[in-house]
Amino acid sequence: MVQIGKSVEAAATSEVLVRARQRAALVPDLLVEARRVANTVIAGWHGRRKRGIGENFWQFRPYVEGEARSRIDWRRSARDDHVYVRDREWEAAHTVWLWADPSPSMLFQSTSADVSKESRSLVLVLALAELLSRSGERIAWPGLTDPFTARNGAERLAAHLAHALSQPSKPDLSQIRRMSDLVIASDFLDPAESTINWLAPLADRGVRVHLIEIADPAEETFPYAGRTEFRDPETGGKMTTGRAESIADDYRREYLARRHELMAWCRRIAWSYTVNHTNQLASDALVRVHMMMTAEFGPGLGGAP
């Protein structure tokens, strides 16, 4: 029988960069263009005089039912009987940290997928880098670069990646300051608790994190049948099952439970969680993440597409 999934070679950074630029050039450009038209009146490369994500105070406004309570400014609210929310100014030079999971499990690609997870994650991250750089945002790769602003941000990021000999499986996130954005593209196959434990300090620090789960369709649908030995590319662990199709339902339940747990957690702390299957278009996730980054904070924005 033909193997359903295999581990592929790590994608060449330059090739990924090309694809990322193609992605970035096609779909999200339109969005950026639209925004620019809308923002012409406000004008200025950095002068986005409107509320949005940023580090500086913009205004207090009354709390509206349904907004995340964590955003209530209790100090201002204590001064009178109303409850206020502190809006921040859309900071032009926003810092967005980008990170794609370099672990071996990301190298997986099944027959029904177009690309490997690693390739997809790099494409997404570099496309975001391209977009953000074009908008003048500061981008950075934890453990690899400090935040920088450059028109050719994606290119430089790719260059850094190409020269990085080895990356730790979990980057050092301690240098990420509050009000920054962090984009993590990974498969999040570790148990949800460990992921939550890993990212929880960021929530405490007020970093807004966008999780992009890159999922291979084979991982989700579990199309295996018959006597099958499964091998973990990360740990090298083996597991043999007599009739793989018999445990498919249980597996799918377990797999989706992990995703739903992460999703629920993200929704609770107003992070976004995007799922991108490698047999779908990268643009879908790109558009969605982009939208999440430019959108207001608020409930109901997180969650699966």
């Binding site: 999934g5 499990s105 018959g226 199709e245």
Partner: protein, 942 residues
């Protein structure tokens, strides 16, 4: 090595079973190889996967399956045999096999055959020759020694015979055959019945060099034989015997069959305990009894259980004696006339050649008749009388009729049942007060008791019996006043009957009534023939050809090839293979030759006492079964199961995705559809009367198509095709006719009748069409088709008869074998000139070429008619103008060939010619009728 009635030919291989634990260990250690898959979410899977569901070993049932498989193969290799047979036939230097294939062996003959075959097989296995003797065979049949294979063939050809075993002769042959051979194994497969001289037979056998004896006799002997059937007045008594060894009480049923095998009588008999002889009574009316052909013991199916009845026990011979047979010219007055006619249907009549009673009576009695009828014989010569009395004493029946001579004769106690008064008594008449007497009811004690008394019979004169004390019981029929009319009495075994009237209509009208026939018939039925005829008419011993024989299993069969005619002598010939039991004779009369005579007995055969070792075996089928094939088959089955299980474990049968399932079901559906199609298509083909070429025919006639003859020259053919295409296009543009594609026809093969017009470009280079092809064209023209010959040589012809071009010569050649009518160039008033366009000439590629058509010579052509009359369509048109060349267009619709001369209008006229020709083809002389249109309209208007 044998246990559980199993034996192994190669028991050492069974030690291979010791390897089973090793195989088990190996099987446990080598699970089926899994499909290896890289799978990143292994941690999630690990939570789902229970530890016991990760077999590192084969499932136990798979191991068991494979172990069974291995064990089966080992067992099969050891050549197991179920119920092995004892080997008794292989010893000594030769096996002398003596088989009784006499009639008792017909029961379970196949078992006996199987037993013998086993013995032969044993002998064959040990390579010793076989002497095979059948005890019913003739003396000259070869008995061997044979090789085992030849002996087997002979055994298979052997059949049970319906004759007793001739052991004495057969054993003598065996003794001769084994003379000089040492250490013979003698196998005696007996039928269980003792023969006439068994002791002597065995003695001569045992005196020779016998190493050991294998003895087989039937386990039980329960044969029933029918030895005789005696037709008594009240019933037919059947005597049955059974073997003396068969002692328990036994009931049996016999039934009687007629000559068509229908069962017409049935009786049961009973053997008491220890009794081996009994009788059964078939109580059936006389008439039916005479139809008996054979008597059979039900369910016996043996030759002994069939007793055949012949004419001897049925049809009686009747001798007729009369003293007054003088006047042959007045037959109705002959005293024997009525007797002869009454007896003829159911008796053989014998009449003495002389009227001399001294010679006639012994002569008749030598024929051993059942009955002698004496009509009005008063006295007999002493010698004849003595002979007649002896004959009566031994069972003959004498019927006497009264008459003037008897009335005048002395009383004769030995030949008359009653004493008679001298003279006769006349009833009624001028001198008597008495009236003629009718017949009274038949007395109950007489043989006529169940006959209806004839009311219309009157007796005017009779002889009177003396009144004696026993007169009443001797009276079989009497008159109304009590005087006897028929009297009868027993004399020894025989019977005397006296009719007190003569056998003619003088004294009474009894002889001319039906009752007379019935009474005679009844008396005849009581009588019995006194022996069988032994000599034919010319004095030689009579021989009777075999007619229908009894087979060993009791069925009536046609005579076998070795049956010989039965020679009737002073004693009955014995039942032998040349005279098997059955009917001998022919359709007009047969003699029964029965297997058992009245004195037959069934004695069980005795095993001869001897000091030679005797092995007793039983008749049985070979129950030895070689199990190797079954075990191998079972092992293969298990192997298939194992493969299926492996596939199942490997997940081949798990069609998870709907797409796959859909594909699979689609595949299955397609296969089913294909199968159904394969099944249905022949059925459809059978149901319709479709013929090959139907599609072409339908295609040819669904559109009007113009045909052209394929000349074989591709240039000519392509121009023809293009030309007709061009004409088609022109027709479609200008007329209502929309012809189909041009049809190229091979005149030798294709059906021509589909096309109204065939364009034939005459090509001198092409081979001359065969005579058959020309005949086809001729037939086509006779049936209404038209051929347009185009020689295309308008400017190639020279002058005069010698100037004909090759194409013209070829055309002449073709036309020579066609029925061509007289031709003429198209006259100016021909329909062709007006059928669509008005044309004066018919140019093609070449101008000025005339178009020749069938001459309408007798057409009247009045001055004022624009078109000449005429019926039909010219079946032939000949031109030299090369129409196709003018019509030919290429793909883009441009003309292919220039016209000669290069006048553009000429092409138009060529097309118009084509249109006119086509319209003429399709509408015939319609246009010539159209000329009447003004007149018709005018008339209609009135």
């Amino acid at each position: 090595m044998s246990f559980l009635s199993l034996a192994f030919a190669q028991p050492l291989i069974l030690y291979g079973l010791l390897a089973l634990p090793v195989i088990w260990w190996l099987l446990r250690l080598t699970p089926p190889r899994p499909q290896i898959e890289v799978f990143p979410p292994l941690q999630i899977l690990a939570r789902v996967l229970k530890p016991e569901e990760t077999p590192h070993k084969s499932p136990w049932w798979l191991t068991l399956l494979r172990l069974t498989l291995a064990a089966l193969v080992i067992l099969a290799l050891a050549d197991p045999v179920f119920r092995p047979a004892k080997n008794v036939g292989s010893g000594g230097s030769v096996l002398a096999l003596i088989i009784d294939n006499s009639w008792p062996a017909a029961r379970e003959w196949d078992k006996r055959q199987a037993t013998a075959e086993r013995l032969i097989n044993d002998a064959g296995d040990s390579g010793i020759p076989v002497i095979l003797a059948l005890t019913t065979d003739a003396e000259n049949v070869e008995i061997g020694p044979f090789a085992a294979e030849a002996a087997r063939d002979r055994l298979r050809a052997a059949m049970p015979r319906p004759v007793p075993a001739d052991r004495h002769m057969t054993y003598a042959k065996i003794v001769d055959a084994i003379d000089g051979l040492s250490d013979t194994t003698l196998a005696l497969l007996t039928d269980g019945l003792a023969g006439p001289d068994d002791e002597g037979a065995f003695a001569q056998l045992l005196a020779s060099n016998i190493g050991r004896i294998v003895w087989a006799a039937p386990r039980s002997l329960d044969t029933i034989g029918l030895t005789s059937a005696d037709n008594q007045p009240k019933a037919m008594i059947v005597k049955a015997i059974r073997p003396t060894s068969d002692t328990p009480p036994r009931q049996f049923t016999v039934h009687a069959l007629d000559d068509k095998g229908r069962r017409i009588g049935e009786a049961t008999g009973l053997f008491g305990a220890g009794v081996s002889e009994t009788t059964a009574e078939l109580k059936v009316p006389f008439e039916l009894r005479n139809d008996f052909d054979s008597i059979v013991v039900e369910g016996e199916n043996l030759a002994s259980a069939v007793h055949l009845l012949d004419e001897n026990s049925r049809r009686r011979r009747v001798g007729l004696i009369s003293a007054s047979e003088a006047d042959q010219s007045q037959p109705l007055l002959s005293p024997l006339y009525y007797i002869r006619n009454a007896l003829l249907p159911f008796a053989d009549l014998i009449e003495a050649e002389t009227s001399d009673l001294a010679k006639a009576v012994p002569e008749l009695i030598d024929d051993k008749p059942a009955i002698v009828v004496m009509a009005d014989v008063g006295t007999l010569p002493q010698e004849a009388r003595t002979k007649l009395i002896d004959w009566i004493e031994s069972g003959g029946t004498l019927i006497r009729f009264a008459g003037p001579r008897l009335a005048a004769a002395e009383n004769d106690d030995d030949l008359l049942p009653v004493r008679l008064r001298l003279g006769e008594r006349a009833l009624g008449g001028t001198l008597s007060w008495t009236e003629p007497q009718p017949v009274a009811e038949f007395p109950a004690q007489g043989p006529f008791f169940d006959l209806a008394a004839p009311r219309d019979v009157v007796v005017r004169r009779q002889v009177l019996a003396e009144p004696t004390p026993d007169i009443v019981e001797r009276t079989w029929a009497s008159l109304a006043d009590g005087t006897p009319l028929v009297t009868g009495a027993k004399r020894g075994e025989g019977t005397l009957v006296l009719f007190h009237v003569p056998p003619e209509a003088t004294w009474s009208n009894l002889p001319i009534t039906g009752s007379f026939v019935e009474m005679l018939h009844r008396v005849v039925q009581f009588s019995r023939n006194q022996g069988r005829l032994e000599q034919s008419a010319d004095g030689k011993p009579a021989t009777l050809a075999p007619y229908r024989m009894i087979s060993a299993d009791g069925a009536l069969i046609p005579p076998p090839p070795d049956a010989r005619p039965l020679v009737l002598g002073s004693e009955i010939p014995p039942v032998t293979i040349t005279n098997p039991p059955g009917f001998y004779g022919g359709g007009e009369g047969v003699v029964a030759h029965n297997l058992l005579d009245a004195s037959a007995r069934f004695e069980p055969i005795a095993r001869p006492g001897t000091n030679v070792p005797i092995t007793e075996i039983r008749y049985a089928f070979d129950e030895q079964r070689d199990l190797k094939g079954w075990l191998i088959a079972l092992a293969i089955l298990l192997l298939a199961l194992d493969s299926l299980a492996v596939f199942w474990l490997g997940g081949v049968f798990a069609w998870r995705s709907a797409a796959k399932a859909g594909r699979a079901s689609a595949t299955v559906a397609a296969m089913v559809a294909l199968g159904a199609g394969l099944y249905v298509i022949p059925a459809l083909a059978q149901n319709t009367d479709a013929k090959p070429g139907d599609a072409e025919a339908i295609e040819a006639i669904s559109l009007t198509r113009i045909a052209y003859v394929l000349t074989g020259d591709s240039a000519v053919d392509s121009i023809s095709r293009a030309g007709i295409s061009g004409l088609n296009r022109f027709l479609i543009e200008k007329t209502a006719l929309e012809p189909g594609e041009p049809a190229g026809v091979d005149i030798a093969v294709d059906e021509l009748s589909f096309y109204p017009l065939i364009y034939w470009p005459v090509d001198p280079a092409a081979p001359m069409p065969s005579a058959a092809a020309i005949a086809r064209v001729d037939a086509y023209m006779q049936q209404g088709g038209t051929v347009l010959f185009d020689t295309r040589d308008q400017y190639a012809n020279g002058f005069g008869a010698l100037g004909a071009s090759p194409a013209t010569l070829r055309l002449r050649e073709i036309l020579a074998s066609l029925n061509v009518p007289p031709l003429e160039p198209v006259p100016p008033d021909h329909v062709l000139t007006k059928s669509f366009y008005i044309l004066r000439q018919f140019p093609g590629r070449y101008a000025d070429a005339p178009l020749w058509v069938e001459a309408s010579l007798d057409a009247e052509n009045s001055e004022n008619r624009p078109v000449r009359t005429g019926d039909g369509v010219s079946s032939i048109m000949i031109t030299a103008a090369d129409f196709a060349g003018a019509w030919a267009i290429d793909q883009s619709g441009r003309p292919m060939l220039p016209t000669v001369p290069g006048n553009p209008l000429q092409r138009v006229y060529a097309y118009r010619s084509g249109v006119n020709i086509m319209m003429y083809m399709l509408t015939g002389n319609y246009k010539s009728d159209q000329v009447h249109l003004p007149i018709l309209l005018e008339r209609l208007g009135q």
